[in-house]
Symmetry: C2
Subunit: 113 residues, 2 copies
């Protein structure tokens, strides 16, 4: 078994205000899916985008909104889960005062790691 | 997109002291993996067992220990992630005073839901 303190997996910047912690990846031997933690600084908008693979999300900390191509579709807060189907347009905005932090699982076959 | 308040997904008992919330399942259209939240009541032991598919775990709440066939291999606490490879023997014990609660992702092809 592989055990990791997620706080010790450094977040890697992907754009201003957005970091990804690559928690469980193909380097760990995962066969089917990869677990990341995504973090948005207060005020950060991760613009709606899409890709041919799904997300399964669980919000850990913070407050924000979930966006699709039309605009806001719901609030993001701890204890909320979201399934983003393949090709669905989705984005996030941190509307709180702390970090917006969520688990985001993607298929290993579509993951760079 | 499918948005769920995990607190509103009722835990289903699987053995005394253990419940599973089936958060994102094949009924939601997930193509590759299923997200559950597993909850152990204080003092509960989920004995070591194994199966041919992996787990990816993220501890949300509570305190416990992770077990393999030899015994204790580490503590479980919020912010800890665990990869349990296919066929690895694994178990959990809640050693705290509150619910031990963790996300546990499994492959859709091996999930009953």
């Amino acid at each position: 078994m592989i055990i990791k303190e997620v706080a010790q997996v450094a977040p890697e910047p992907v754009m201003p205000g957005v970091g990804i912690r690559w928690v469980l990846t193909q380097a760990d031997g995962v066969p089917n899916y990869v677990m990341r933690v995504i973090e948005l600084a207060p005020g950060t908008l991760f613009k709606p985008h899409h890709h041919p693979y799904e997300h399964e999300i669980y919000v850990l900390e913070g407050e924000g909104v979930l966006l699709d191509e039309q605009g806001e579709v719901g609030s993001l807060h701890p204890g909320l889960a979201v399934f983003v189907p393949p090709d669905a347009r989705h984005g996030y905005k941190n509307t709180g005062t702390g970090t917006l932090k969520f688990i985001c699982v993607i298929p290993a076959k579509d993951s760079p790691r």
